[in-house]
C-alpha cells in the first residue's frame, strides 16, 4: 500500500529545511571538494601520473593498504568474539566492558598515538618483553597494525552486536537438537546471519584505517618505503607547499574510499533484499 510518497504539501517546513541543508552541504562539503578537482585539473594527466607512480608514494599506498587490511582482519576475529560475549553472556563487569568499546572513538587519536608508542617502544611495558622475544612493534609495520586495530575495533563490534542481539537463540537450540556441534552451529547458523554486518564493519574499519593519521604517525616511525602511510605522504607534500602532488596522492585515496563505500552499500542492499524475501 505504500505507493504514496510523503506529499510535499502535507507537512510544513520543506523549503526551509531543504534550503538550509543544501546551502550548508554546498558550503562545507561540496565547494571544498570541488577545489580538489580544480587543483588536479591544473596538475594535468602527466603530472598526476608521475606523482602517483613515484616509488615512495607507491610504497606508502602499499603500507596503508596492507596494514589496514591486517587490522580489519584481526578485528573481524576479536570483534565477533567480543560482540558474542557481550550479547550472550552475563558476567560481572560486562556493562563496563560494553561501555569501553567506544573508547577508541572518544579518545583523541593523537593521545592514542603517543600512548601506544610509549606502551610498545623497546622500553615500554609491553614493548620491552616483546623485544626480548625479538618482536619489535613500535616503529615497524606491526606498530601501524596495532594502532589501526585499536582505532577500528568499535566498527566491527558495533555492527555485529545488534545483529546478534536480534538473532533468536532458538535457532541455535534447533541446531543443537538436530545434533550439530558448537563449531557447526557457528558456521552454519550464526556466521551466515552476521556475514553482511561483518562485511560492512570490515569495510568501515578498512576505510577508516586507510585514512587514519593521528594515531599512526607517532608509532610508525615514518621511514620512507617501510612505515610511511599514504596520509603522511599528503601531509609532507603539503608541508613542502607541493599542493599539486598532495592532491594527486589524495585523489587516489579518494578513489579507494569511494570503491569501499560502494562495496558496503552493495552488501547492505543485497542483505536487505535477501531478508525481505
Amino acid at each position: 500500500m505504500q505507493h504514496h510518497q510523503a506529499n510535499k504539501r502535507n507537512i510544513p517546513g520543506f523549503g526551509l529545511s531543504l534550503g538550509l541543508t543544501l546551502s550548508y552541504v554546498s558550503l562545507v562539503v561540496l565547494i571544498p571538494m570541488v577545489s580538489i578537482v580544480i587543483q588536479s585539473a591544473n596538475l594535468g594527466w602527466l603530472g598526476f601520473w608521475k606523482t602517483v607512480i613515484d616509488p615512495r608514494v607507491m610504497a606508502s599506498y602499499r603500507v596503508s593498504f596492507l596494514c589496514s587490511l591486517a587490522a580489519a582482519a584481526i578485528n573481524c576475529f576479536f570483534g565477533v568474539m567480543l560482540a558474542w560475549v557481550l550479547v550472550r553472556y552475563r558476567f560481572p563487569g560486562r556493562r563496563i566492558m560494553d561501555g569501553l568499546i567506544e573508547l577508541p572513538f572518544a579518545l583523541p587519536t593523537a593521545v592514542t598515538g603517543i600512548a601506544l608508542t610509549a606502551l610498545y617502544s623497546d622500553k615500554g611495558w609491553l614493548g620491552g618483553p616483546l623485544a626480548q622475544w625479538g618482536l619489535k612493534v613500535a616503529y615497524t609495520p606491526a606498530g601501524i597494525v596495532m594502532a589501526l586495530t585499536f582505532i577500528t575495533l568499535p566498527f566491527i563490534v558495533r555492527t555485529v552486536q545488534p545483529v546478534l542481539e536480534q538473532l533468536d537463540p532458538v535457532y541455535e537450540d534447533a541446531g543443537r537438537l538436530l545434533g550439530a556441534s558448537g563449531g557447526r552451529i557457528f558456521r552454519s547458523i550464526i556466521l551466515p546471519e552476521i556475514t553482511p554486518a561483518l562485511l560492512t564493519g570490515f569495510g568501515l574499519a578498512f576505510a577508516r584505517g586507510l585514512g587514519e593519521y593521528g594515531s599512526v604517525v607517532f608509532i610508525a616511525g615514518n621511514m620512507p618505503y617501510k612505515t610511511e602511510i599514504a596520509p603522511l605522504m599528503i601531509f609532507s607534500k603539503l608541508q613542502q607547499f607541493n599542493y599539486g602532488e598532495a592532491t594527486a596522492v589524495a585523489l587516489v585515496m579518494l578513489g579507494a574510499s569511494f570503491l569501499i563505500m560502494l562495496a558496503i552499500n552493495t552488501i547492505q542492499a543485497r542483505a536487505a533484499g535477501y531478508v525481505k524475501e
Binding site: A6, I11, F14, L82, L100, E102, A106, P108, V111, G182
Partner: protein, 275 residues
Amino acid sequence: MSTGNDRPLRLLLIIISVLFILLMLVTPLVVILVEAFRSGLEAYTKAVTDPYALKALKLTGLATVAAVVLNTAFGLAAAWAITRFSFRGKGLLTTFIDIPFAVSPIIAGLVFILTFGRLSYLHPFLAAHELKVVFATPGIILATVFVTLPFVAREIIPVLEARGTDEEQAAALMGAGFLTIFRRITFPHIRWALLYSVILCAARAMGEFGAVSVVSGHLRGKTNTLPLHVEILYNEYQFTAAFAVSSVLVAAAIFILVARNIVEFTARKESDYVR
C-alpha cells in the same frame, strides 16, 4: 543459553575477551596516567596550567562548540528534509552528507588549504580583505565542522525514518504549524538520539587531529588545539608534559563515554515505556 555443557567454552571466551579489552584498551589509558605523573604532581600541574596549554584548551573548546551548534542545526534540518519529504536527488544528498566520514582527515584538511589557501581563486579576495582562513582560527573551526558534519544527521535520520510520517501528517491535517509539530511531536521522539549524537560529535570535534593539523600551520598559542599541543610537546621530547595534557583529554573522553552510556540506558528505559 543454559545448556551447561558449554561452560568451559564460555569461560574461555569471557577470559580472552576481558584480557583483550584490558590489554588493548585499558593499558594505554593507564600508561598515560602513569607517564603524566612520572615527574610528580608539581610538574603535572605546571604542564596543565601552562599558558599555551590553556590557549589550546580555549581553541579546542571554541571549535567543539561551533561544530556541535552548527552541525546540530544542520543535522535536524537535513533529517527533517530527508525523512519527511520525497524529492529528486535525495540519495545523492545523503551521499554528500557522508563524504566527511569517507575521506581521510588529512584530505579534509587538504581541501580547505586548496579552497582558501595561496592557490585558491578566493585567495586574492581574502587577502584584499585581510581575511585569514588557513593557518588561523577560522580554518581550525571549518576543518572541525567538516569532519563532524554527518554525526547528528546520521543518527537522527534512521530514527525518523523508522517512525514514519503518520503523526506529523495527522497534526498537519489538524492545522498545526511547523514549530508546533516539531516541538510537540517530532522532538520528543528524537531527543535521546539527538543528545547521543551531540555527545559523539563533541568527542570527535575535541579530538580531531589530522584535519586540524593540516590547516593549523602549528602556530603555537594561536592555532593550536589540545591534540596539536600534545603533538608539539611530544616532538620536543617533553614527554611528561605531553602525557599530562593528554590526561586532560582522557578525562574528557571518559566523561563522554559515561554520558553516552547514561543516555543510551535512559533512552532504552523510555522506549520500553512509550515504544
